[in-house]
């Protein structure tokens, strides 16, 4: 519940948590997934900027900073600084759109890179997503940027991960198809650009692929994520860096 005296600058949106998911449809999967959400009056969909395909005229669009879940002026400034740094290093856009209206309406959303969209009904659990994977959310979903540490700077896309939690509906995407790797002891290594996200009791460290600097440059693998523990890892079958490498080779 929201008490306006304690929320600071954040607008409080309260949704009765019936445990049921939002009315939505994911079509054209697994390759060109598009999300359709049907909103009731007063419901708000938050979506990554630039991802709208079509919408009913009854819905209005407002632009917001992706400021994360914490409220208050200082944390907003902190989020803004992080968002600006991210813009230089790469990753998710600074801006999100809020769609809502006084009457019901539908909205169609598609991410920039082709692939799958997955839906999760969050009920308090936490999910870590790579910064390009967030598509949209409805409800009290917290999206907090997590800085991966200095070693992650090498991995442009991986420098910032998103920690997602709360109550509500979350949609995230992959570039390419999504595969899951369930780890139960042992270790698994995922190329950083192919990581969509993970959850469970997993520890993740970022390292370079081979032993020593020579093999790092030579092996063609950049930064990799090494997982141990138990949980689920989501991997995507394509990698933006590899596509850029592929096209660059065509140009010479």
């Amino acid at each position: 519940m929201c008490d306006p005296r304690h929320t600071g600058g954040r607008v409080c949106l309260w949704f009765p948590d019936s445990g049921e998911s939002m009315q939505h449809q994911i079509t054209h999967g697994p390759s060109f997934s598009m999300l359709r959400v049907d909103l009731n009056p007063g419901e708000t969909l938050v979506a990554e900027a630039g991802s709208m395909v079509a919408r009913s005229e009854s819905l209005q669009m407002a632009v917001k900073l992706n400021a994360g879940g914490s409220s208050g002026f200082l944390s907003k400034v902190g989020s803004l600084l992080i968002a600006i740094v991210r813009k230089f290093i790469g990753g998710e856009s600074l801006i999100v759109n809020h769609f809502s209206g006084p009457s019901a309406g539908s909205i169609w959303i598609a991410p920039a890179m082709s692939g799958s969209i997955l839906h999760r009904r969050l009920q308090g659990e936490k999910l870590v997503l790579s910064s390009g994977a967030y598509v949209a959310s409805v409800g009290n979903v917290d999206v907090n940027m997590k800085f991966g540490g200095l070693s992650s700077i090498l991995a442009k896309e991986g420098a910032f991960m998103l920690e997602v939690g709360g109550q509500g509906d979350l949609w995230f995407n992959s570039y390419g198809g999504i595969e899951t790797v369930d780890l139960n002891g042992g270790t698994y290594i995922v190329d950083n650009g192919h990581l969509v996200g993970y959850e469970g009791n997993l520890q993740m460290t970022m390292t370079t692929a081979g032993k020593g600097l020579m093999s790092f440059a030579a092996s063609g693998e950049g930064v990799v994520c090494k997982f141990s523990g138990s949980g689920r890892i989501y991997i995507q079958s394509r990698n933006v860096e590899s596509l850029i490498g592929y096209v660059t080779r065509l140009l010479v």
């Binding site: 054209h28 598009m34 395909v53 005229e57 856009s93 082709s114």
Partner: protein, 224 residues
């Protein structure tokens, strides 16, 4: 003529099977492979005027006509971005098609640049609108998309983002609007212009935005 679309939806290709004497007209550069029994001719459909008008319209200057002169044969056609292909019988009222989506059509179909009313639609992106008109029933057009193709029925009004349009019925009226409320909002929001369609008709959209894809990938390629 039999057209089958294979490898849907991402790497779709139209396999056109022609009986002896049949032909199909296609965009330059769309041919992947073909039987040795087919004959290809390059022509300026509609004479010099037609060719120039098509060049102005963003469609390639020349179209190729593939004819099965020596018995039946096949020709494989596709566009250059990952995505689906749709084969649509042209209704009596005709179809509007975004210029880069057009791949091929029955030789009796007239494809021309539609100049009036669409001037600012794509804001200098070099995209134009084509009008495809059939001279009889059963004549089809083949168009391709970036991403999947979704038909959205319009009955009232619908706002479609710039960049996701593939084709639509000529029975719809249209206007250009800003997507968000207020100029700053549109600029920052990442949503640029949207098209408001009104009336009753079908709209085919593509689930990916070529401009957004182009900007996000090509911005990281070596400069030119």
């Amino acid at each position: 003529m039999n057209i089958n679309v294979l490898y849907r939806p991402g790497m779709a290709m139209a396999k056109v099977e022609l009986q002896h004497g049949e032909a199909i007209r296609a965009e330059a550069g769309a041919m992947i492979g073909m039987s040795t029994s087919l004959n290809m001719q390059t022509g300026m459909t509609g004479g010099l005027g037609g060719g120039l008008k098509r060049m102005f319209g963003g469609e390639s200057f020349f179209q190729n006509t593939y004819t099965a002169h020596n018995g039946p044969g096949e020709v494989l056609l596709a566009h250059s971005l990952p995505g689906d292909i749709e084969v649509m019988e042209i209704p009596q009222s005709g179809l509007f098609i975004q210029s880069t989506s057009y791949i091929a059509s029955h030789p009796a179909v007239n494809v021309a640049t539609e100049v009036g009313g669409f001037k600012n639609w794509f804001g200098g992106e070099g995209l134009f609108v084509l009008r495809a008109t059939a001279s009889g029933p059963g004549q089809s057009v083949v168009f391709g998309a970036f991403g999947g193709i979704q038909m959205l029925p319009c009955d009232g009004s619908l706002l479609i983002d710039n960049g996701h349009l593939v084709a639509w019925d000529t029975t719809l009226t249209h206007s250009l609007v800003k997507s968000g409320s207020g100029f700053i909002s549109s600029f920052l929001s990442g949503e640029g212009l949207a098209f408001r369609f009104q009336g009753r008709g079908r709209i085919w959209i593509q689930t990916r935005n070529p401009k957004e894809f182009g900007q996000s990938i090509a911005s990281r390629l070596p400069p030119v």
